[in-house]
Amino acid sequence: MSNTEVTPPMDVFIKGLWRENPVFRMLLGMCPVLAVTNSVMNALAMGAATLFVLTMSSTLVALLKDFIPKQVRIATYIIIIATFVTVVDYVIQAISLDLYMALGAFIQLIVVNCMILGRAEAFASKNSVPRAILDALGMGLGFTIALLCLGAVREVLGNGSFLGFDLFGPSFEPWSVMILPPGGFFVLGFWLLLFAYVKERSDARKKGQEEMSHGG
């Protein structure tokens, strides 16, 4: 049993939202993060699709971990992940062709999202099914929140709208660069800066409190 088993279940879930956020802390899955976040709807759909694939594949990997020989584990994980990506691909086509067109090849590319394979290898293959599900839900939600953070800024500035609803009226001149690929890098850089700043402040505050308690 891994030493991660001693972590309280709530921590397993919460760490993906902030402390080990796959995008803002670990910089994983950058390809869809930059490519599909030009609107809130695209970000939401990609986040939901990734969350589903991550949760299902982590569950199955945790369930089968004792039967999968180490030598073929990566190949097995890839088959499992590709299965659920195919499922998502068909389901999105059944829900909306427009959404499917908007997300383009990035649905199929969830197969090679290093976050999903990373969680299968680093967590699900060493933990029980409930913990693997909690970890996947936390990481998936953290990934979705990160996509939404980027998508919201890019759509509001680049298109003057939020979820398709016009915010500023016809006089607003959209910042087209925000929905172009460079806009993805600008906004990601801004969010990374913000997260690093908040973490630095939080660490400094903890250090100050520790010093005070030692001094007292």
Binding site: N38, F67, P69, Q71, T86, V87, Q93, S176, I179, L180
Partner: protein, 232 residues
């Protein structure tokens, strides 16, 4: 350090996993995967087909103003053949009919290279007046904010409300070639007014429609009576 402890950690001494165990695992997971995919495919197929049918229907009615019904034809050497929706054929076209069953025009699909990827579009052709009467983009990956204006810019789409594609007497070429011009320079009905900042995309749309129309419109005019007869 104890020699036996070192030896027990060595990968050589780890119990070997049999080839059968690896084969069994991969085959088992692949079979499970196949089963899941087949079930999901069979479940979602009717919804996907319905979505595609609706998308085509929406596009046909969009590019043929006044059409309320449609018929699907297969383009064949000996003339157009009325087919069912599900029939698989190499090239198809859609006849748009008004409420009284009169032929409004023919909707055609065309595709070609855009700036970033293939552009797939549908346009409506009125054989009576030899005009293109509508155009809509079905699929594209043009630059957001620039090239993708070909799908939404009302001024650009207005080019295709009455674009002249009249053929010469022997129906081998257009009387006037369909060309894209700079934004604001359109004078003649066979010119397409471009979009500043989306030059390559607008030229691509013009080229795709021009090439496709040059190939298919002689066929439609030749079999116009058949299309009208089948429609009524």
């Amino acid at each position: 350090m104890n020699q036996s402890a070192i030896m027990s950690d060595s990968p050589i001494n780890k119990p070997a996993v049999s080839s059968w165990a690896m084969f069994r695992t991969l085959c088992g997971v692949a079979l499970f995967s196949g089963l899941i995919i087949v079930i999901v495919y069979q479940t979602t197929l009717p919804f996907i087909q319905e979505n595609r049918r609706k998308a085509i229907e929406r596009a046909v009615f969009e590019v043929l103003p006044g059409a309320t019904q449609r018929l699907t034809f297969s383009v064949e050497a000996d003339g157009p053949r009325l087919i069912t929706e599900d029939e698989v054929v190499s090239t198809r076209m859609y006849a748009g009919l008004d409420g009284s069953g009169n032929l409004v025009g023919i909707a055609l699909e065309a595709m070609g290279q855009g700036y970033q990827d293939v552009i797939r579009l549908m346009y409506g052709y009125d054989p009576e007046r030899e005009l293109i009467v509508g155009m809509t983009i079905l699929e594209m990956r043009e630059t957001p904010g620039l090239g993708d204006k070909i799908a939404h810019d009302p001024r650009f789409l207005a080019n295709f409300e009455a674009l002249d594609v009249s053929l010469n007497a022997d129906r081998t070429d257009f009387i006037n070639p369909v060309v894209a011009v700079d934004q604001g320079d359109k004078i003649n009905p066979w010119e397409v007014d471009g979009i500043t900042g989306a030059t390559i995309s607008t030229q691509a749309v013009t080229r795709i429609i021009g090439l496709n129309a040059k190939e298919i419109t002689p066929y439609i005019l030749e079999h116009h009576d058949v299309l009208k007869g089948a429609s009524s």
